[in-house]
Amino acid sequence: MNTEILGVVLMYATVVALAIPLGRYIGKIFNYENTWLDKIFNPLDRLFFKLSGIDPSKEMNWKQHLAALLTTNAVWFVLSLFVLSNMSWLPLNPDKNPSMSWDLAFNTSVSFVSNTNLQHYSGETGLSYMGQLILMLWQFISAATGIAICAVVFNAMKERTTHELGNFYSYFVRACTRILLPIAFAGAVILVFNGTPMTFEGKDSLTTLEGAEQHISRGPAAAFVSIKQLGTNGGGYYGPNSSNPMENPNYLTNILETIFIFLIPIALVFAMGYVLKRRKLALMVYGVMTAGFLCLVIPAIYYEMNGNPAIAEMGIAQDMGSMEGKEVRFGSAASAYWAINTTSTSNGSVNAMHDSMTPLTGMFAMIGMMVNSFYGGVGVGFINFYIFIILAVFIGGLMVGRTPEFLGKKVEAKEVKIAMIIALLHPLMILGGTALASFLYAGNPEVYEGWLKNPGFHGFSEMLYEFSSSSANNGSGFEGLGDNTPFWNLATGLVMLLARYLPIIGPVAIAGILASKKFIPESAGTLKTDTSTFGILIFAVIAIVAALAFFPALTLGPLAEYFSLY
C-alpha cells in the first residue's frame, strides 16, 4: 500500500483507538463518577461556583438550560465585540495592529462565539495578542458550550420521565476543566516542541540568505492551535491556518492536528453509549457517521492523488497527485483527508487551499458541511444527528405499524414539527444566502466584481462554499472570494448566528419534551433503533433530506466544473 494512504489509515485508526477510552472518560464525567482528575479539579470547580454564586447541584429543565446557554454566550459576545474593536489601544499589542471595523468585529465575534471561526481577516496583521487571546478563550467556551448541551441531550435520553436534566453550568465547567483543558494542554506542549511559537514578544526579524530583511509574526500560537483543532473551532492563528509552517510544522504535528479534529466528536458518540448504557446504539450512530464520512473521504483522496487532468494534458507528470495549493510536507492524500475531516466536523481549519482542490473534492467538502453530522462539531454534531434520528424514527415507526417511539418515548406531532423546522433551516440558509449573492452578482457583475476572481462555475462554488461553511459553523473558506465586505460580513454573520443557536434550541427542546413524556417499555413490536437496518434508514434520510436538497446547486458549481474538466 502507498505510504500516503497508510498514513491516512493510521491517523483514522489512532483517533478511534483514542476516542473509545476518551468516550468512556467523558461518560464518567457526565455521570458524575469518580475520575483521577477529580483531586485537581474539584477544588477548582468549587472555587468557580463560589465566586459566581452558582449552585451547581440545582437541576434545570430544558428551557432553563437554553436560557443559561444563551445568556452566558451573549455576555461573552459583548466582551468580544469590545476587545476586537478596541485592540489598538488595549494592552498586549507589540506589533501595533489596528482595531477591527464594526462589521468585521461583528462577523469575527459571531464567528468565534458560534464555534465557526470563519475569518475575514488574517491573524498576523488583523489581531493583537489580546485579540488572539480573547478568541482563544472563545475556542474553549464555544466548544464547552457544545459539549455541555450535548450532555443535557444525553441526560434527556435516559429511560425515565423527568423535567430535571442536570445543571448547565456544572456540565459546562466540567467540559472545560476535565476534557478540553488537559487535552489541549498536552497538544500545545507537543506543538511547542515541534517549533510552533509560544511567546508574548513581538515580530522576529531576520536577514535571509538573499540578504533581505524578513519579519516573522509570533505570539501564543501553540496554545491557540491546540484548542482550535480540539474544539472543532478551526480559526487559525495565522491567515493560512494549518498550512502555515508555524502552525503546523511537520508531518508529525499534522498527524496530531488531524487526530484532534475527530477526537472529541467521535468520543462523544461513545460517551452517549456509556451514559445511556446503550453500547449498541452508540455503535449504530458511529457506524452511520463513519459510512457517510467514508463516502466522502475515499473519492476525495482518490481524486486528489490522481492529479488534475488539465495539468496532465500539458504533459506534466503528477506523481504526487494534484499539488496545487498543497504543502509538500503533507502530500495530496493527507491534505484531502484533512479537507474532509475538517468539513464534516465543522472544524474548518485547513492545511491546504480548498479552492485548489479538484472539483469533486470541493463538492465532498461541501457535502460534509451540508450534512454537518458525519461526526460533526463537538457536541453539536451529535445534536444535529439527533434530528435525523427523530425523523428516521418517525418514518420507521410508521413502517412497522406503531406510533413511533424513540428510547421508550412517543414521537408525536410537536417533535416532528421542531425536527422538520431544524432540518429545513440548513438548506434555507445555504441556498437562500447563495441565492441572494447570486442574484446581486448576476444583476450587476461590474459592481460586485471584487467578490469573484473566478466567475463561472468555480465562482458559484466559492459563494456556495462560503454559506455552507457559515451555516455549518465550519469556518473554512474556499477562498478566492473577496469576503471582507459589509455584505459578506453581515450575511455570513447572521447565518452563523442563526445556524449556531436554532439547531441547539430545536433538538434540546425535542429531547426535553421527550424526557417529560411517559416511558413506554420496549416490546417485540417496538422499532429497535440500535440495529443496522435502522442505521440504513437514518443514512437514507440524511442522504435524501440533507444531501439531495443541494443537488441542483451542486450541479451548477462543482459538478458542472467536473464535467467540463474531465
Partner: protein, 678 residues
C-alpha cells in the same frame, strides 16, 4: 363474510368518485392537504402561463405549456379520486348496513306493564325518540336500536352480522341490546329506544367516513407536518434555483420550475394520505366493527396488552360437568340426588350440564317447600333449601368457609380432589348438605382449536395476552398454559380488570379489552381500546370506542392488525414517495441545464432523449403513480407478525429500495414512449 365486496372499483362507485374528484378541486377543500394544495397553486400558475404562451413564445410553445397544465391537473384529479373512491367505498359499506334501518312501522306503547292492544300506536320508525318504548312480536323488524325492557326473544341478526343462526336476547343481564333492522323470530319483547335517529354509532361512523366530521388522527397530523416540511424544503430548492440559473446564464422556463417542484414534493403520499385513513376505517367496518373515531383504529395498532375473557374467547362456550366425586363414606346415589336438586333451578350452562351428566329428571324427586338460592357474587354459591335440608354448591373456598363457620371440618381428601381437578384445568364445584361437604363436581373447559397459534401471532407482534377468568388460580394457570396466554387474572372481579388495566397503563403500556356487561363499562372506558359487543348493554357500548357487530370475542386481534396496517401503509408509502426523488432529480436536473451546459450530459445517467421528454416523463410518472398505488392504499400493506426489526428490513427493502429503483425504470420507459411522439 356478509357485506364484503371484493371488487375494489365497482362501476357505480367509480362514477361517483370521478364526479367528486372535480368537486374536490375547490381550494377550500384542497387547503386541508398542504402538499396537494401547493400542486394546485402550481397548476393555476401553469394555466396562466399557458394562456400567456398564446401571445408570446418566451415561456415555450402553447402546446408544451398546455401539456404540463393538463398533467398537473391530472395529478390533482388522481389524488382527489383516491380520496373520493375511499369515501365512496366506505359510504357504500355503511349504506348497506343502514339499509337495514329503513322506515319500518314501530309499535309504540305508552308504558311498561299491562299492555292492551289499544294502548299501542303504530308510527314510522323515524318518529321514535330516545326513551320511547315499543314492542315487537315474532316476524317484526325491530325499528330502532334499543335495550330490552321486558321479555325474551330469539332474533335473526343476519342482516347485520351475516350469521344465520338466531340469537337469544333478554331483558336484564348482558345480552339485552337489540339493533334496528334485525328481525324477531319468536316471542315478544318490549324495547326502550336508546339513541335518537341519526345518532346511532353507525350514523356517527358514516359521518366519519364522509369527511364532514373526519378529524385527522394524531399520527396523521404528525405525518402531514413532515410532508409539509418536505414541501417547504423543495419550495426553497426551487425558488433559489432561479438566481442560480441567472448567475449561470441558464434560462429555465416556468413550466420546468413547476415540474421540478411538483415532482420533488411528496405528492404520492400527499395524494393518498386521506384515502389510507378512510380505508382503515372502512376495513374495520368490513370486519363488522364500528369505530367511534379514526383515532381508535390507529391506537389499536399500538396496543401492548390484550385483555381477553376466557369464556367464549379462549374456551368454547361454557364449562361442562365431567365427573362426580362423592366424599369419603358418602353414598354416590345420594350425592347425585343432592347435586341434581341443587342444580334444578340453575339456568347457567354449567348447571344444565350437571343435569345432563346425571341423566336424571329433577322432577322425579319429590321435594316440598323448595326454595331456590340464587348465585351471588358475595356467597359465590347457589343451591336449594327444602324441608330441613340445605344444599349448596359453589367454589371450594366459599363452601369451605360455609362449612367451617358451621363447625364442620373441610375434609382433606376433598381438598386434595379440588387441587387435583384445578391443576388439570378443571373447575371444582364443592357440594355441601347442611354445611357438611358431601362431594365435588368436576367441570372442564374446552380450549378453542387454533387459539394457541393466534396468541403466538400476537406475541410476535409484541402484544401480551391476558386471560380474565372467574376460575381459581390453579385452573386459570392450567388453561393459560394450554392456550398459550402470557398472563391471567384468576377469580376476577370487575374491579380486578380495572386495576390490571390501570397498572399496565401506569407502566406506559396501551391496553385493549373486549366486554359486554354493564360491569365491564368502567374498564372499557379506562382501556385505550375498548371493544363492546353489539349484544352487550348500552352502558358497555357507550363506554367502549368500538362496537363489534359480530359479538366475536377474538375480533380484537383483527382490530389490532387493521390498526397496524393503517400506520404501515402510511409509513411505507411515505418512504416510497420520498425515495422516488432520487430518480426524479436525475431526470430533471440535467434536463434543466443541459442546453446551456452541454457537458452536464454526463449527469443524464438514464440517457433520456431530450430535456422536454425528460421533464414530461418525470411529471407523467409522478401523476400516474398515484392511481397505480390506490389499490395498495385501499387494501393496506400486508402486516406480517415477524417482529419489528424484520418488518422494517422487509418494508425498507420493498418500499425504500423499490422506491429508488421503480421510478428509474418507469421514467425511462415513459421517455421511450413519449419521445416517439415529440
Amino acid at each position: 363474510m356478509k357485506n364484503k365486496n371484493t371488487s375494489l372499483f365497482r362501476k357505480d362507485l367509480v362514477q361517483e368518485a370521478l364526479k367528486e374528484s372535480f368537486v374536490k378541486l375547490n381550494p377550500k377543500i384542497m387547503f386541508r392537504n398542504p402538499v396537494m394544495f401547493t400542486v394546485e397553486i402550481g397548476t393555476f400558475i401553469m394555466l396562466i402561463v399557458t394562456l400567456y404562451s398564446l401571445t408570446s413564445d418566451a415561456q415555450g410553445s402553447f402546446g408544451y405549456n398546455f401539456t404540463f397544465f393538463l398533467l398537473l391537473l391530472l395529478t390533482l384529479l388522481f389524488a382527489n379520486f383516491a380520496e373520493a373512491i375511499a369515501e365512496a367505498r366506505g359510504k357504500a359499506q355503511a349504506d348497506s348496513l343502514r339499509k337495514t334501518r329503513e322506515e319500518t312501522p314501530a309499535k309504540r306503547v305508552s308504558s311498561i306493564g299491562k299492555i292492551h292492544s289499544d294502548a299501542v300506536e303504530i308510527i314510522p320508525s323515524s318518529l321514535l325518540k330516545k326513551g320511547d318504548l315499543f314492542f315487537c312480536e315474532a316476524g317484526d323488524i325491530i325499528p330502532a336500536d334499543g335495550e330490552i325492557a321486558e321479555g325474551l326473544a330469539t332474533i335473526d341478526e343476519s342482516a347485520i352480522t351475516g350469521e344465520s343462526a338466531p340469537v337469544i336476547r333478554e331483558a336484564g343481564g348482558d345480552k339485552s341490546s337489540v339493533t334496528g333492522g334485525t328481525k324477531v323470530l319468536s316471542d315478544r319483547i318490549t324495547v326502550k329506544v336508546t339513541t335518537d335517529q341519526g345518532e346511532s354509532f353507525l350514523d356517527k361512523m358514516i359521518a366519519l367516513v364522509e369527511g364532514a366530521s373526519r378529524q385527522k388522527t394524531p399520527n396523521e397530523i404528525a405525518l402531514t407536518i413532515l410532508l409539509a416540511g418536505f414541501t417547504l424544503v423543495f419550495i426553497i430548492v426551487t425558488i433559489t434555483l432561479k438566481p442560480f440559473a441567472d448567475y449561470a446564464n441558464t434560462p429555465i422556463t416556468i413550466a420546468s420550475f413547476i415540474s421540478l417542484f411538483v415532482c420533488l414534493i411528496p405528492t404520492t403520499i400527499g395524494g393518498l394520505l386521506s384515502a389510507i385513513g378512510i380505508a382503515g376505517m372502512d376495513r374495520a367496518l368490513r370486519a363488522n366493527v364500528i369505530t367511534k373515531s379514526g383515532k381508535a383504529v390507529e391506537t389499536a395498532g399500538d396496543i401492548d396488552v390484550l385483555l381477553l375473557d376466557k369464556t367464549g374467547t379462549i374456551t368454547i362456550g361454557n364449562r361442562k360437568a365431567t365427573h362426580f366425586y362423592p366424599a369419603n363414606g358418602m353414598d354416590e346415589k345420594h350425592f347425585i340426588k343432592s347435586v341434581v336438586l341443587s342444580s334444578m333451578a340453575d339456568q347457567t350452562p354449567e348447571g344444565k350440564s350437571i343435569l345432563e351428566l346425571a341423566g336424571i329428571d329433577p322432577l322425579s324427586y319429590e321435594v316440598k317447600d323448595a326454595r331456590f338460592i340464587k348465585f351471588t357474587a358475595e356467597t359465590r354459591s347457589s343451591g336449594i333449601d327444602f324441608e330441613n335440608t340445605r344444599i349448596r354448591k359453589g367454589a371450594a373456598d366459599a363452601i369451605k368457609t360455609l362449612s367451617e363457620t358451621a363447625g364442620n371440618a373441610f375434609p382433606d381428601e376433598t381438598a386434595e380432589r379440588v387441587t387435583q381437578i384445578s391443576s388439570n384445568g378443571g373447575t371444582p364445584l364443592v357440594v355441601s348438605e347442611n354445611e357438611k361437604v358431601i362431594g365435588v363436581i368436576e367441570l372442564q373447559d374446552i380450549i378453542k382449536p387454533g387459539i394457541r397459534e393466534r396468541f403466538e401471532r400476537l406475541r410476535k407482534m409484541g402484544i401480551k395476552t391476558v386471560m380474565v377468568t372467574g376460575d381459581n388460580p390453579l385452573t386459570a394457570k392450567f388453561i393459560a398454559d394450554k392456550a398459550g396466554v402470557d398472563d391471567f387474572i384468576a377469580e376476577a372481579k370487575p374491579e380486578d380488570k380495572m386495576n390490571y388495566i390501570k397498572k399496565e397503563q401506569a407502566e406506559g403500556r396501551l391496553v385493549a379489552m373486549m366486554g359486554d356487561g354493564t360491569n365491564d363499562a368502567p374498564a372499557l372506558a379506562q382501556a385505550d381500546v375498548g371493544v363492546a359487543m353489539n349484544s352487550g348493554t348500552q352502558a358497555a357500548k357507550e363506554a367502549g370506542n368500538m362496537v363489534d357487530l359480530d359479538n366475536d370475542p377474538t375480533k380484537l386481534i383483527e382490530v389490532v392488525e387493521i390498526g397496524k396496517q393503517l400506520l404501515m401503509t402510511r409509513g411505507t408509502l411515505t418512504t416510497f414517495s420520498i425515495a422516488n426523488d432520487v430518480a426524479k432529480y436525475f431526470a430533471i436536473i440535467p434536463a434543466l441545464f443541459i442546453v446551456a451546459i452541454p457537458s452536464l450530459q454526463g449527469l443524464n445517467i438514464m440517457n433520456l432523449q431530450s430535456p422536454e421528454s425528460a421533464l414530461l416523463s418525470a411529471v407523467i410518472f409522478n401523476a400516474i403513480i398515484i392511481p397505480l398505488l390506490i389499490p395498495l392504499a385501499l387494501k393496506g400493506v400486508a402486516y406480517k407478525p415477524i417482529g419489528a426489526s424484520a418488518l422494517l428490513r422487509r418494508n425498507l427493502f420493498i418500499y425504500g429500495l423499490g422506491g429508488v429503483i421503480v421510478p428509474f425504470i418507469g421514467i425511462k420507459l415513459i421517455d421511450i414512449f413519449v419521445s416517439s411522439f415529440l
